[in-house]
Symmetry: C2
Subunit: 293 residues, 2 copies
DNA sequence: CGATCGTTTGACGGTGCTCAATCACCGTGG
DNA sequence: CCACGGTGATTGAGCACCGTCAAACGATCG
């Protein structure tokens, strides 16, 4: 049970060493199904009593360890509970294409359900913990617990919204606009997690950001300094403080290359972008959801 | 019933005219639940007898009509049955950001489940038909029919894989590489649909492609001619014939700007890219996976 | 046949990629 | 204690690619 199949560390020269360090190991005390639903962002009050206490196993992933290997058989779905991860695909020439960064509450490995194999690798950016949902029990558990089922569906929906955000990040033409959108995206995540949206600590290196944004990593560096010179952010290595959230919104809005914005439309522009980044819409009246319950 | 709320045509000056033309209208004869599962890519044999014949309403969407409006309340989930659509988000400056193109079998509107509102608009690129799953019945139907439930989960998983493909398309640095990846992506879709993967008819305009790829639309034009000059494709307006699928794979692989490839590693490179585009993996059975069994 | 939209091609200027050097940081070993 | 190599981040120089503007051409439809 200590050695988790298909979920060992990344295949480097230090693999043996890392295995000895137990880069991936189950934690002794499992979490409850109620907590899992909560981690997913669902409502714990919807969980019925007997199911609420059902045990869900929990794993600890060390920084740099690979939770899922590209091409491996699908066996489990994971829910990120704490920490952060990156989804990557390694191209033939060795280039690591970053597909997304995962924050707590996100589903990992669900995309393997389609083909039965992992389409991307998942690597921990820091020490993290994940809940484990073996695929065998997956469908059964969902039918046993309506709340879990709902939470999973909503989580999947959120996933789709977030990938759309990724697309919008990369679609910007100017590189500093892409970075601005990325920072706002991160800021939004911090806000959702209940932390300050102005203080970011980027767990990923410049190269990973560059890969996600589709630019050279030197350009990411230059864009950071540009945004800093504009007084929008304060950058100190991986610590980023957002000084002017509104101004950052304005800059993130620029579709075309021309750098200077018309200050008139800027206000409304900001609201548009926060709408894109903020899954919790201004008025999240879930009529349909309420009707279903 | 003729006027579907929140699903009218796009808000142009011709809206009234289009409404008169019944751009969106339910078809008189509904389809069966068994067919719906089949459309989703599921196995119809898994559908139990009584449920198989359950009626699912079908809508016809005219080219240019808007099936889902950005910001509207979530009411139904749709399954694209025939035709093609584009998902777009309109930014403040009026720029239409294309998020993805949808092919038959894809789920539309599911991303609204999270916030209760549509995060993006969905516009038909050609005359299309969609199956309608009202959210009220959604959960119930899923529990009634296990096959539908499975098919929906797999479809969602496929959705996630496809958005990753979008990310990879946009992540390429050179514009012609992006276009090559896009064409391969389209080619893959044609193949999945059982049509020739070498003959494409692009339903979207250059501007839409450019928006998705994050380049100027003139650049898309130039990249088309470049790929044509290389003898990889034959372009005639929106009809594209892929002359050298292997060569296109090779060009799509280029991570860096430098245009000319080393022909030695090209062969293996091609296999990598088809792996990215083709969810049905060939056989990269990792050792780790083997150790698991 | 004219109007409108989509596509292509040209010219030019600027952004960003490449290559390269420098510096900071860190764990290691002398 | 400091040299040492390794990694990551920043900055600079040069040039190619691509965005912008513009015009011409083609397609479609009334």
């Amino acid at each position: 049970m200590t050695n988790i199949p298909c979920c060992t560390t990344h295949a480097t020269s230090q693999e043996a060493w890392r295995l000895r360090r137990n880069d991936i190991a189950p934690l002794p005390e499992p979490v409850t199904l109620g907590e899992l639903v909560q981690t997913l962002g669902g409502d714990i009050r919807e969980v019925r009593k007997p199911a609420e206490a059902a045990p869900v196993s929990l794993w600890r992933i060390r920084q740099g360890a690979t939770l899922l290997h590209e091409g491996c058989a699908a066996q489990s779905v994971f829910v990120l509970r704490s920490g952060s991860m990156k989804r990557i695909r390694t191209l033939e020439d060795g280039y690591e294409q970053v597909l997304s960064f995962a924050q707590p509450g996100e589903l990992l490995g669900f995309d393997a359900l389609h083909s039965g194999r992992q389409p991307a690798a998942v690597v921990a950016l820091e020490d993290s913990t994940v809940c484990v949902l073996p695929l065998n029990d997956h469908l059964l558990a969902r039918h046993d617990c309506l709340a879990l089922d709902r939470a999973l569906q909503v989580a999947l929906s959120r996933q789709l919204v977030r990938t759309a955000g990724t697309t919008e990040m990369m679609a910007a033409l100017a590189s500093d606009v892409r970075l601005a959108r990325f920072l706002l995206w991160m800021s939004q995540r911090m806000d959702e997690a209940g932390r300050s949206p102005r203080r970011l600590f980027l767990r990923m290196c410049r190269r990973d950001i560059a890969s996600l944004l589709g630019v050279a990593h030197e350009t990411v560096s230059r864009s950071f300094t540009l945004l800093a010179e504009l007084g929008l952010v304060k950058v100190e290595n991986r610590e980023v403080e957002i000084l002017d959230l509104d101004g950052l919104h304005r800059r993130a809005l620029n579709t075309r290359r021309a750098g200077d914005e018309a200050p008139g439309a800027a206000q409304k522009a900001a609201s548009d972008w926060s709408a894109a980044l903020q899954p919790d819409w201004f008025a999240p009246v879930r009529q349909v959801a309420a009707a279903a319950a």
